[in-house]
């Protein structure tokens, strides 16, 4: 029996629904589902998701998860706790330094922007689900996730991914210390892109850092109504606030000389 004749295993249907499979693989699985008349399995998962979240809402599950995690942490060896605390302090200090640098450079701040220190706090514990950017550096060993304030270098290849968290339209851009704005999504000036609204989605192309010194600040601007990249580029170049209908998530990386 050929693989294409086989029913798609639940595991792969889940991975397909989560939007994490490469496009070619996802298309192949969708074709197999169609061939078996089983496209309903994807909508069945959506229904099941709603049922489970209604029965076990985050408001109930998350406190229990955190309670268990706290209990385990209390029982963990002390040096690990010290290391964890130090790493959080270091991350917080790095984030603070980056915010300071970005503010000095631009001279103003977008009111609706989520600050990096807030993002660092938000790593796991607070707030509603918000759109976020995640940036990975390609390496020989695979992909390294970069935290706000992480050190990067000219020539590093970055993979940008986003979580739309239900927002409908978005633009991803970056600005370097020289004030040069690069559009990543879309890659040319125009309308904001209709976002994949669930799961973490990778941009089609990786981005190689140039020789601009200082920092590279990535911005994910989202809205529920269409908008233009010119709104975003103008605000980034001038340091002015974004239009009120737009909200943004920032992630800045520190560029160091090799």
């Amino acid at each position: 029996m050929k693989t294409t004749d086989k029913q798609v295993p639940d595991w792969l249907v889940e991975r397909l629904a989560a939007g994490e499979l490469p496009e070619a693989r996802a298309n192949e699985l969708r074709a197999r589902l169609r061939a078996h008349g089983e496209e309903y399995r994807l909508s069945a998962l959506a229904n099941s998701n709603a049922e489970i979240l209604a029965a076990l809402p985050p408001e109930r599950a998350l406190p229990e998860i955190r309670r268990r995690a706290d209990r385990r942490q209390r029982n963990a060896p002390r040096p690990a706790r010290v290391w964890w605390a130090l790493s959080m302090v270091t991350a917080g200090a790095a984030a603070f330094a980056m915010i300071f640098a970005v503010r000095e450079h631009k001279g103003s701040r977008t009111p609706d922007r989520v600050s990096e220190s807030e993002q660092a706090e938000n790593i796991s514990f607070k707030g509603d689900l918000k759109p976020v950017l995640r940036i990975y550096r390609k390496s020989a060993a695979g992909a390294e996730a970069l935290r706000p304030g992480a050190k990067v270098h000219q020539g590093d290849t970055l993979q940008i991914r986003y979580v739309a968290a239900g927002r409908r339209f978005g633009i991803i851009a970056s600005i370097d210390a020289r004030g040069a704005v690069t559009l990543h999504l879309p890659e040319a000036p125009g309308k904001a892109v209709a976002l994949e609204r669930d799961g973490e989605r990778a941009l089609p192309h990786a981005y190689e850092l140039d020789d601009s010194p200082g920092f590279e600040r990535f911005v994910f601007v989202t809205a529920d109504t269409p908008f233009e990249s010119t709104d975003v580029v103008r605000a980034l170049e001038s340091g002015d606030a974004l239009p009120a209908a737009l909200s943004s998530f920032d992630l800045s990386l520190r560029k160091e000389k090799p």
């Binding site: 595991w11 629904a17 989560a18 998860i65 995690a69 385990r72 790593i123 992909a143 996730a145």
Partner: protein
């Protein structure tokens, strides 16, 4: 990687529960295991590569459930369930037998990766993924997956019998 556990739960919590239900076949145990899956993610959030959260959570859920099954005393409900028990026991056999020469050889055969071998076995024998599909999921070559399964069957007759 910024692991946002709330976002993870909202997006993937139901998927994790479905996975735990499938492997444990008991609603209360599945809900309990689901919580522990997210605890594991929180516990290791500073070292995880969470670029594919759903894959990470499914894998973690499989390991959590296998560890639960290892201590179960119930009778398997069917062939898949029986296979899961055999695979779950694999970890304890590896650990318990490391005190013996044979055990140390067995441990060496798994090259320090008994967890991924158990995952490979579950994906192939229980979830019915083909060798190619398993290879794609765990990032090994097809021949690498085949070799792991062959080693497992050679060393653990119970698995070989159940799959023959």
């Amino acid at each position: 990687m910024a692991v946002d556990i709330e976002s993870f739960y909202r997006l993937h919590g139901p998927m994790v529960l479905r996975r735990c239900r499938r492997l444990l076949r008991d609603e209360a145990k599945a809900v309990d295991a689901m919580h522990d899956v997210f605890v594991e993610i929180l516990r290791r959030k500073d070292t995880l590569d969470a670029s594919s959260p759903a894959g990470l959570l499914l894998t973690t859920a499989t390991h959590v459930c296998l560890n639960r099954l290892r201590g179960e005393r119930r009778k398997p409900e069917d062939a898949d369930d029986e296979m899961l028990f055999h695979i779950a026991a694999l970890g304890s056999e590896v650990n318990a037998e490391t005190r013996t020469l044979a055990g140390r050889i067995l441990d060496r055969l798994f090259a320090g990766q008994p967890e991924s071998t158990r995952l490979i076995a579950v994906l192939h024998y229980v979830d019915r993924l083909t060798l190619e599909e398993v290879a794609g999921e765990v990032g090994l070559s097809v021949s690498g997956v085949r070799k792991r399964l062959r080693t497992l069957k050679e060393r653990l007759p119970a698995v070989a019998e159940a799959t023959s």
